[in-house]
Symmetry: C2
Subunit: 243 residues, 2 copies
Amino acid sequence: MARFFMAGTNIKGGMAVIRGRDAEHVRVLRLRPGEDLIICDGEGTDYRCRLVYADKEQAEAEVVEVVRCPAEPSVKVTLLCGLPKGDRVDYIIQKGVEAGAFEILFFNCERCVARPETPEKKLERWQRIAEEAAKQSGRGIIPQVGWAGEFSQALDVAVKKELGLFMYETGEREALNAVLEEHKHAADMAIITGPEGGFAEFEAKLAKICGLHVCSMGERILRCETAPIVALTAAMYATGNLA
Amino acid sequence: MARFFMAGTNIKGGMAVIRGRDAEHVRVLRLRPGEDLIICDGEGTDYRCRLVYADKEQAEAEVVEVVRCPAEPSVKVTLLCGLPKGDRVDYIIQKGVEAGAFEILFFNCERCVARPETPEKKLERWQRIAEEAAKQSGRGIIPQVGWAGEFSQALDVAVKKELGLFMYETGEREALNAVLEEHKHAADMAIITGPEGGFAEFEAKLAKICGLHVCSMGERILRCETAPIVALTAAMYATGNLA
């Protein structure tokens, strides 16, 4: 079913008035009066509506039912990824949103090859990818995509969550499934993954000192764009959000 | 560490003789005598070797240790995917191999948009993607990529496995995590996912009649190239292969 976020929409007295880009979208989709659509407030609430009329500038729909968006996971997972090169960023955003991320932040660290001097410039494009993926996958929010800054700032974001996971390829690590089992009722968590070259040893040490769980996902070496999706999926599975 | 599959290699009396494309690869990587490499027999056994010498045509390495490849999952998962369009196939192969698939087969079904008349022609390219991903991720086998044929033939492959999962987006379904929990000691399983347009209702019914578990992965709608990776990751998690 067609799905809109509320940007250009007002809901009042059981009627939704759709304007701007969304009204255009209604037209492009050739939705006709009587057809159903979902308007989402971006905070997890879905307004199930029936279209009453649509013209070039505006559409109106009657609110049939108000429900909590069933696709929204019960746990808020923040993905924190060492900035990779090129379209791997796009990939992490698209798949991360599909797989249920609450928020996706990139950061700079020792082995980052990509070092955009102003990642802020890219934020608008990144956010559009998230919005597109959120609509397509039926999410109840548009996950925020952002720039966390340097490695230490990424750690600072992670330590504030109920559970902080640091995915690392070598050395002494906890098993991801054991850690997740123990924290399966966490309300929020952070998952940190590295760039193409992985993390430097001092970064893993620092993460551990900060109280994060340095975790292994087994002996298969995952690409930097695959690791966050696999770890996120494991988190969704462990918290009962994949059923 | 550099990783080779055995194509051009003979191991005899504790020495590995590397020829052909692999010998060239040794040269390209500028491996020097004394450096370590792994030669894998493609059936899950790793020969940890030390290079003795290398020239243009040939290299020789001393076998230091013979071990079971630690990256190989304990469960053999066959991914069966309704053939998608374009580079989504490549994506499924690359990420499927990284995430631990034993075998990846594509098939034709009701809503397939892509209908190559001779998918056989593409098999060589697909297999190369699998080989590349297997080397990079440290797999102990090169997962076979193949063409299963029509939908009914895909079902036939799946029913022969200890556990057969059919991922479906609507209607009455079992929760994926419940089914996986119950079968976490399975030696092999099949995971069937659909093409861009999903499965027709009769296909889901047929799968159920054949004894497959028609499963849900929650209310988020996953793209056809994302679903197999998410389901495979769930299977790896449930069987203890993500730790």
